[in-house]
Each structure stands twice: as C-alpha cells, then as structure tokens.
C-alpha cells in the first residue's frame, strides 16, 4: 500500500510531471505540425499553426523522391538481425557473469611478472624491427603495436575478476564513436585494410561498405555492452538455487540456460530486446558514414532531406515522422516493459 499523500503534494507532482512531459514531447509535436505545413509556413516564427492551411503534399513529395519501403525493410532487417545476434552472444556472457563469477583476479602474476611481460613484448618488437632492417611498413608497425599495446592490455583484461570485466564492458561505450570511425571505415572499405590486393589473393573486388554483412555485426557490437549489462542485472535477481536444483536433476548447461533460466528471465529479455531495438532503429552515426543505398536505413532517409540552401523543414519533418512512426507505435504497445528496462537497477 502506497503512502498516503497530501493533495498539495499530489498537485505539485502532477504539475511537474506534466511540465516535463510536455517539454519532452514538444519537439515531436513541432515536427508533426511542420510536416503538414507548406515550406514557407513551416519557417515562419512565431508558428501560428491554427491559421495556416494544412497540407499532405510533403508526404507525397517524400514518397515520390525516395523509396521509403526499401529503407523500412533495411532498418527492419538491421534491427532484427542485430538484436538476434546480440541475444546469442549476450545470454551466455550474462549467465557466466551472473552465476559463475570470478571473485578475484585469476592471475597470480605479481607486478614484477607484468613488467617481465612488458619487457618481453618490447624485446619481441625489437627483434621484429631488427629482422626488418628497421624498415617500418604498415605490417611491421601493426605487429609492433599489437605486441606493445594490445597484447598486455588484453591479457590484463582477461585475468580480471567479474566486477572488473563488467566495468570494462561498459567502458567500451564511453569512447566517442567518431574516435573509431577511421579504422572501421578502412576495415569496411575497398582498398582499405582488409579488402585489398594481398598478392596471393585479390580481395579488392569486395567490401563491406553499404552492406548488411558489415552493418549487422557493427550494430550488434555497438549495443552488446548494454545488452550484457541489462541481462546481467535480470539474471542476478534469479535465485541461483533454482539453477543448482536443475543441475541436481541432471540438466546439461544448454538445458539449464534454455529451459530454466530463459523462461524465468523472459520479461527481462523482452525489455532488453525492446530497448535495443529502439537504439538500433535510431542509430545514425555509423549508418550515415558506412551506407549509401543498398543497406541504408531510415536515419539515412531523413538526412537526404536536409539542405543548407533552400527550404526543407516541412519535407524533413515529414520524412522524420515517417521514419519514427513504426518505432513509436511499437514503443506505445510495449511501454510497460520499456519503463522497467529504462530504469533497470534503480529500484534494487
């Protein structure tokens, strides 16, 4: 039973709630109104949306100019495939973090041992450079960097205890995506780091640019940290004794996860999926940079209607409404799971 509240308190909370709600909704409201106005009316300030005529012509123009259905199909494919792939990777990861945690670092290595590893890496790098007559091309540079920077750091992460690993997983979301743009662009690109003429095999006819083969794993990896964290918190709430009981009854690990754990965590898995569907649907940075047409999702479709010279607000608004409408409807239908998903961890 909730605590009884004074009417005044209720009134204040209601007012604050509505104010925040209206403030949050205002941009969507404005976009919706602008989408149904002519270009010059959409620009006029103050906006007198009651007196100016309403029109559907922006939607007609957008329909005529772009293949909306193709964008919707691309987005749907991208969202479902990346969410499914993320589930396959995140459920085992979250299980292991929640039910088989490592309390302390598995490494018995002392500080001296780490210094020895670093020195060994430096030594091998030295030998690599020496064998190459100190000529540094990209390949040699790659090997040296791998040994000096990546290898010790990876070893260190692998030996961390569970709480350290969890933080490390989340830390991958802390880097601004633009920082990784150039390397990822070159990995995707023709004549880049992978799809080039290697001498013994010519890969330069292929590339991942503008294809779902590249975008699906990328979006999966983008959302994987959040996926693992959310599933981890849900799994933590399930008593480990139940899983132990199933093991006593002879369940294999596969059966333990698929027949015992997953049915119990279904609401949690559903809300995790929902949140990630929304994140993947709205992903814009990578799709703007790495797609053009064949794999271009709805965020790309919106950007087609922006222009620094000319009036475009009404058409841009119409495109935005068309892009967010499907996900908005899904969101309304699944609001309850979403609220729980968005506030995960806050009530524990």
């Amino acid at each position: 039973m909730a605590r009884a509240q004074s009417p005044r308190r209720t009134l204040i909370f209601t007012l604050v709630g509505w104010t925040v709600g209206i403030l949050m909704f205002f941009p969507i409201f404005w976009t919706t109104v602008a989408a149904f106005k002519t270009e010059s009316d959409a620009y006029s300030l103050p906006q007198n949306f009651l007196t100016t005529p309403w029109t559907l012509e922006n939607f007609a123009i957008v329909q005529e100019r772009s293949d909306y259905v193709r964008y919707v199909i691309n987005t749907t494919l991208l969202v479902t495939l990346s969410t499914a792939l993320a589930l396959v990777l995140a459920i085992p990861a979250a299980w292991s973090l929640a039910f088989a945690p490592r309390a302390e670092s598995s490494s018995r290595l002392s500080g001296w041992a780490w210094i020895a590893i670093m020195l060994a890496a430096a030594g091998v790098s030295f030998v690599t450079l020496y064998v190459n007559d100190w000529k540094v091309d990209n390949f040699v540079l790659g090997v040296v960097l791998l040994l000096l920077v990546v290898a010790p750091a990876t070893l260190w992460v692998w030996t961390r205890n569970t709480s350290g690993t969890l933080l490390w997983i989340l830390s991958t979301k802390m880097m601004p995506p633009a920082g990784a743009l150039i390397p990822i662009y070159l990995i995707f690109n023709r004549n880049g780091l992978v799809f080039r003429d290697w001498g013994w095999i010519n890969l330069s006819d292929f590339n991942l640019m503008d294809s779902l083969w590249g975008m699906v794993p990328l979006v999966t990896l983008l959302n994987l940290p959040i996926f693992i964290w959310m599933l981890f918190t849900y799994f933590k709430e399930i008593p480990v004794a139940i899983l132990e009981a199933s093991r006593m009854d002879g369940a294999s690990l596969w059966n333990e996860i698929t027949r015992v754990l997953m049915p119990m965590a279904l609401p949690g898995i559903a809300s995790t999926c929902l949140l990630n569907i929304i994140l993947a649907w709205n992903e814009a940075f990578w799709s703007l940079n790495l797609t053009n047409k064949y794999a271009a999702p709805l965020s790309f479709f919106i950007s087609e209607y922006s222009s620094p010279e000319g009036q475009f607000w009404a058409k841009l608004s119409a495109a935005s409404i068309m892009a967010i409408a499907p996900i908005l409807i899904i969101g309304w239908f699944s609001q309850r799971q979403l609220v729980r998903g968005l506030t995960f961890g806050a009530v524990k």
Binding site: T38, E39, S40, Y43, S44, R65, Y185, L186, N189, R190, N191, G192, F195, W200, I201, L203, D205, F206, N207, L208, M209, D210, S211, W213, L288, N289, N292, K293, Y294, S303, E304, Y305, S306, S307, P308, E309, G310, Q311, F312, W313
Partner: protein, 432 residues
Amino acid sequence: MKFTRFIVGALAASLATSVYAETTLNIATVNNGDMIRMQKLTDDFTAANPDIKLNWVTLEENDLRQKVTKDISTKGGQFDVLTIGMYETPIWGAKGWLVELNGLDDPADILPAVSGGLSANGKLYAAPFYGESSFVMYRKDLMEKAGLTMPDAPTWDFILDAATKMTDRANGVNGICLRGKAGWGENMAFIGSMANSFGARWFDENWKPQFDTAEWKDTLNTYLTIMKNAGPEGASGNGFSENLALFQTGKCGMWADATAAASFVIDPKASQVADQVGFTLAPDKGLGKRANWLWAWALAIPAGSQKVDAAQKFIGWATSKHYAELVASKEGWANVPPGTRTSLYANPEYQKVPFAKMTLDSMNAADPTQPTVQPVPYTGVQFVAIPEFQGIGTKVGELFSAALAGQMTADDALAQAQQYTTDIMTKAGYIK
C-alpha cells in the same frame, strides 16, 4: 594454402555487393532543386543508353562533402560520378584524384569564370551542372517609400544608406538581411566576398594572413554596424534558409545572397512579396571588385572508377545543351540550371526570365583566378582553394558570428582570427 584461399574466396564472394552484368553508375549528389529535377528526367538518358543504370545517393551538402572526401582519399571507389564544387575541384584535380573530362558537349560554351574555377593545370576536371553568384534582392515598394531608386550597380555607401532608411522596426521591416550563421560556406561566403570589394584578402603573396589590415577591420566594422542598425534580431543564427523565410514574409528590405534564391522569392506560391522584388548587382567600393561570390556544383569522375566511359557519357548528357532544352520543355525556362553556358543567356526565351540578365552579369563580375584587388597566391572568390581552408574558414566564421552576437568586439575577433590562421598556416608549412 590452397584450402585457405578457397575459404577466403568463398567468404569474400558471399560478401560481394557489386553486380557486373550491366554498368551501374553510383552517383553522389547534393540535395537541391536542380539535382532532384535531374533525377526525375534521367529516363531520357537511360532510353538512349539502356546498358547503363543510374544509382543516386542524395545527401546534404556537408554530409556529401565528408563522404566523398573520405571515399576519394582512401580510393574506396564507392562512387563513379561525384558532385563537387569549385572548392574541391582544383585541389583534387591537382592531386590527380580526378579523371580529365573529354566527352562534354561544346566545352568552349561554358562560362569562362566557371571553367576557370573548375580546372587545375589548364585541364577541366569537373563539368558545371549549375552555377551561381550572389546579388542583392530588394523590395521595390519599400525602396520607393524610402524615396530612393536602386541603381543597376550600387555602391556600399548607397546600400548602407538605403538599409537605414528602409528599416521600420515598428512594422517588423529590417533594412537588410545578411548571413550570420557560422561556417565557411555560411557567413564567410558573404563576408569573404564583401571583403574582396573592400580591398581585403585572406593571404598576401607569401601566405601571410591579412586580418590585421585596415581593409579587414573596415569590412567587419561595416558589416557589424549595418546589421546592428538595420538587420533582423538574432541574425547570428541566420543562414540562407532563415533569411529566405524572412524575405518571403516581407520582413527584409534588401537581401544579399545567392542568385539561386531568385526563383524562390518571385514564386507567388511561396512568397508574399513576389511581385515587388527587384534584383541588382552586389555592391562595390569603387576598387574594381564587387561583393559577389562564384560557386558551381559540378560533376566529376574519381580516378579509381572502373566505369569511366559510362561516367563520361552521363556527365556529357547532364551538362549538355540538350539537357537544358529538355528541362525547358518539361518545366519551363525558369527552371533550367543557370549559370553554366553562354548559349543559354543568348537564348531569347531564357532572356525573358526576370533574373537571367542579372545572374549572368553577377557571374561575369567574379573571377576566381583573380578574386581580389591586391594579388593573391590562391584561386577562389569567397574561399581559398587549399585543403586547410575549411577549418580556417569555419573558425573565422565562428569568431565573426560571435562578434555579431555581441559576445566579443570586432578587434578581438580579428586578432584571434589572425592568430589562429597564422598557427594553422605555419603548421601546414605555408609560412616558413
């Protein structure tokens, strides 16, 4: 080894996205009216060339520039035809990133100022699809009310005087609307060309920045004063689109901006002042240069493309006289892409378009190879065709926009611009 090769080959084959059955041209283009119109008219091209398929990628100008630059500098080969401007063409052409064009319809017919700005080492690397300059659009009724007559070639003194006299803030009328939003293609396009008419320049012959000169001080102070006395509120956020909306709703006496704006302001469906608009040349100070810029969106072929022949054919079609006639027959002469060919302006039908003559005169008044009163080592009227300019222009634009918003004085803005530009040019090795 053989097995690995098979596996890798099979994997790669499954990743393949390109189809070689027919030639598909991937065309990166900018979102503006003329380009969108061309996409609708391509049946005319594909009917004559059934083996060529066209695949359009339409983007906002800055996104397009980023995307195309990334692709061409890494030789990614995503596009076969690029839409680029007068800024990129000379730089990329000199680097050998573009294919020389040879399938054009009557190249001698292209306006000399435009072909000059799209060439490097005397070779044409991009074919102009449409060109624009800038001029002054004004309200004839307000001009009359202020007791003035707009000359065909006004001076800055006249414009300043007229702007003050036309201002009627009680009735929401601002004497003049100018760009204030920061960016090298935004406020600096206007202020840069204004500076040319004041005798200022970006760099001297030794690439030394010139913001510490009296000419720049005069330019910036004049700009700030006129905007304070006769400009709209919050002008530091106004770009082309915002000013267009202000002018269309009768809130500006004059508006100096792109010639491409003309068809919008005389369109009675969009503009409340459509029947009151006059056009005149951008002002000067009697020093021999006018305050108008020159820009062209042009089509080019990246050096890595494997479909050069088809791309040459397409560019030839899109920039031909035949295409101009095609647009005219379907949508009227006013919608033909302007500013590229001498023959278009000699056409008696096109001369009936109200802004035709003033557009041609404006374009001829700008010379990208000799943009300033004093000699300079660069080409480009409202920009400097060097790779460093985008960063410099945008930073200086931010400083000038801040000065317009009253966040710093004109002297501070100029001093910081001088400092920043000197740093960048020293690092880039221009200043030794």
